[in-house]
């Protein structure tokens, strides 16, 4: 009987490509992290270009700048489970939910998607006892990504936007540093998948669709309202959007995960998340507390109307540890981000 069934199965699958094995939920939920990424079967190919069934790509209206790396993001939900909508903060995800984010560089920054080298694939896995953050670093052959817990520096050579060779001193964070950015009152938490960040369109194959609508339609998300009435983070580099919205979106995406009352920089009292409305907490004419040499000899975090005398911009323009903000996650200056925030600070009324 058994043998017949096996034989039948074998015959039926002849000719058709075998179904790839599903995502290894047991490996995701195991106590010890897998030493290499392929164990989880999140992708069906060796080079992690083809997501397995159950993975949904997503993008954020305003992402984090990470030294010009290209990023791809996926949500995996265990079969039959759903995320629950929240108007503020990250959605509530079921146990087993895994967020996947791969950092990569094209050989030439002017040709995104072309001759891409994968650097690391980061995971946030929702275990019964909470979230776990892991990162897997790709080998030069691009055939395997292995667990890296203690961080690393990887030199990455590319052609920059001006056509010149550039070597980036890329930093893979250690797993404690994941938590420095990804912490809510000392607990690990996802940052990106919030209603307002996902409230934008994405191409699903040939067709574009609002992500909140798509997730709802695909049964990945419950409780979401019509996207038109859901909150929305502005797209930082869309010139059609108001300057203040774009700048606030940028500061939220690049700073707000630490600079909020529950984040790593809570004690600074400088809050840059989008929900903050008090100008003093947002840095307007706020004197630094523990900035040290990060103050750059300037008096205020934001000197309204004057980007050149605002500590906030000074720290964005710096590449020096102890001065630069964010204090993790970049070694280069985000010139476009600096220009945007400078324009915004200039637009703030100088007198109070």
């Amino acid at each position: 009987m058994m043998r017949l069934a096996a034989l039948l199965a074998a015959v039926l699958s002849l000719g058709a490509a075998p179904e790839p094995a599903p995502v290894a939920l047991d490996a995701l939920l195991a106590d010890t992290p897998a030493p290499s990424l392929d164990t989880y079967r999140l992708f069906t190919d060796q080079g992690a270009r083809a997501p397995n069934a159950g993975l949904t790509p997503y993008a954020l209206n305003t992402p984090l700048f990470s030294d010009h790396s290209e990023k791809s993001r996926f949500l995996f939900l265990p079969p039959g489970t759903q995320a629950t909508y929240a108007a503020t903060g990250a959605f509530a995800f079921p146990v087993g939910a895994t967020l996947v984010k791969t950092f990569a560089y094209p050989a030439d920054l002017r040709k995104p998607g072309d001759r891409v080298r994968l650097i690391e694939t980061r995971l946030m896995i929702h275990k019964p006892q909470g979230w776990v953050a892991l990162t897997y670093v790709w080998n030069p052959e691009q055939t395997q990504a292995v667990l890296k817990r203690a961080g690393a520096r990887l030199p990455v050579s590319v052609i920059d936007h001006a056509g010149k060779p550039l070597t980036i001193d890329y930093a893979v964070p250690n797993t404690n540093q994941c938590k420095e950015c990804h912490s809510l009152s000392g607990e690990l938490a996802p940052i990106g998948p919030k209603a307002r960040n996902l409230n934008g369109d994405l191409a699903y194959g040939p067709r574009r669709e609002n992500q909140l609508a798509h997730w709802t339609r695909a049964g990945l998300l419950t409780g979401a309202p019509d996207p038109r009435i859901a909150p929305r983070t502005a797209i930082w580099n869309d010139a059609a959007e108001p300057l203040a919205d774009r700048a606030r979106a940028y500061l939220d995406g690049n700073c707000g995960h630490c600079h909020n009352p529950e984040g790593m920089a809570s004690n600074s009292g400088l809050f840059l998340h989008l929900e903050e409305t008090d100008p003093a907490k947002l840095g307007v004419r706020r004197r630094p507390v523990a900035a040290g040499r990060g103050s750059g000899g300037l008096e205020f975090d934001i000197d309204p109307g004057r980007p050149e005398t605002s500590i906030l911009l000074h720290r964005m323009k710096s590449r020096e540890p102890g001065v630069m903000m964010p204090e993790l996650g970049r070694s280069l200056v985000d010139e476009d981000g600096v220009a945007l925030v400078a324009d915004y600070l200039r637009s703030l009324p100088a007198s109070r």
Binding site: A150, N176, P261, N267, G269, V289, E320, G322, S331
Partner: protein, 407 residues
């Protein structure tokens, strides 16, 4: 079979009850890849474990961090195990601690690009026999704080030395229940600073060759405010004579050179039994916060302050205050050792004047009508000021497993 199961059970129970019984020591030697090897040990350590760094110099390229409870990080001694961050390329501090029950001891940390050792949101955090220094001497480009517990509870700083911090050597911020003792702060802008913190005992320390020796401040606009209840006693606060090298914009950039003890906008501070001498501006200075602030819950006045029974040597001969030379000339060539700005009120405040008992004297009262209005000073000098009777907080006690009581 049953017997062996019982044995296993006993082991598990014993482990749960006294995890230290099975505590492991993770040893790390200096050498190549120190960054990865030390950071791995800090990640691998289990509660109760010790990460032991051998004698020698470890060169790091990034910040280190610890997020496991009840871990001891130890070296072979101050000056023997040296953690050098001269080549640091990222992170805001040398070592960051975000877990509870951690002790860092017997090591030296050098030249971090930001702060030296920071603990954030940590309960029962101890720094014992640790040196943090910037080896190029006092410089504006040195990191801000040497030893920096913030938003922490039960803080022990014992036998610590900090040199060269461009803000405060030993800085405790927004924290509760704090002991700073047997420590040495030199060549920093502020030697020891207790800020927006509650219940601190600062004793048996040496604060010398800083710009200001020991500071107790409260600042507006922070998540934790209303600092109070600090005792400063049996300290040597001598020869604080290093020109202020703090980057502008930071509050301590305004500390005049040669202040022994400076109290600003804090409540219930007792300064007694200290040796305070060789400070050219003032032995003890009480000032109100003079910048504008929006914060309704903030009180900018120093209040419920006692300064008594200190041994005051030569102080105040060359005050680094605006109009200081004139003041000194008017008061006989040298400022009286105790200085109060005399501010008793602020916008929106209708309460009583702050209670002070400045037993040591003479006391110079600037009688400023408003914080910072030095031009309007109407200085008076009295042998002492105020009257006794302000209650003094009992000694700070830390949990017994953190600080075994003496004897």
């Amino acid at each position: 079979m049953a017997a062996s199961n019982q044995f296993v059970l006993a082991c598990v129970l014993a482990g749960a009850l006294a995890s230290s019984a099975q505590a492991a020591t993770l040893r790390v030697a200096p050498g190549a890849d120190a960054q990865e090897r030390v950071q791995s040990a800090l990640l691998d350590a289990k509660p109760g474990d010790t990460v032991a760094l051998d004698a020698g110099t470890f060169a790091f390229t990034d910040g280190l961090s610890l997020d496991v409870d009840s871990v001891t990080v130890t070296g072979a001694g101050q000056g023997k195990t040296v953690l050098s961050f001269a080549g640091q390329k990222g992170a805001g501090e040398g070592l960051l601690i975000t877990s509870d029950g951690v002790t860092v001891r017997d090591l030296t940390l050098q030249d971090s690009k930001g702060d030296g050792i920071k603990s954030k949101g940590a309960d029962r955090i101890s720094f014992v026999s640790v040196t943090v220094e910037w080896t190029g001497g006092p410089k504006e480009t040195n990191g801000a704080y040497g030893v920096y517990p913030v938003a922490s509870t039960n803080v022990l700083i014992d036998k610590v030395t900090v040199r060269g911090a461009s803000d405060a050597g030993i800085y405790v911020g927004q924290s509760k229940n704090i002991i700073v003792r047997n420590s040495r702060a030199e060549f920093n802008v502020a030697g020891i600073e207790i800020e927006n913190s509650t219940d601190a005992d600062v004793f048996d320390n040496v604060a010398t060759h800083n710009t200001g020796g020991i500071l107790v401040f409260d600042l507006p606009g922070l998540p934790v405010m209303g600092g109070h209840s600090t005792r400063i006693f049996r300290n040597q606060v001598v020869d604080n004579d290093t020109a202020n090298f703090a980057p502008k914009g930071n509050i301590v950039a305004n500390v005049p050179v040669g202040v022994g003890v400076m109290l600003m906008a804090n409540r219930d501070v007792h300064v007694f039994d200290n040796d305070i001498s060789g400070n050219q501006t003032s032995a003890v200075m009480l000032v109100s916060f003079s910048r504008s602030f929006d914060d309704k819950s903030y009180n900018p006045l120093p209040r419920d302050i006692v300064v008594r029974d200190n041994r005051l040597g030569r102080n105040g001969w060359l005050p680094g205050l605006p109009g200081g030379k004139m003041l000194a000339a008017a008061t006989g060539g040298s400022l009286p050792p105790i200085l109060w700005d005399g501010v008793t009120t602020y916008a929106g405040y209708g309460g009583p004047a702050p209670r002070l008992y400045l037993k040591d004297g003479p006391v110079l009262n600037l009688n400023l009508p408003k914080a910072g209005e030095v031009e309007a000073a109407k200085p008076t000098v009295t042998a002492s000021l105020g009257s006794p009777g302000l209650p003094e907080r009992a000694a700070v006690v830390l949990p017994a497993d953190q600080d075994k009581p003496a004897k």
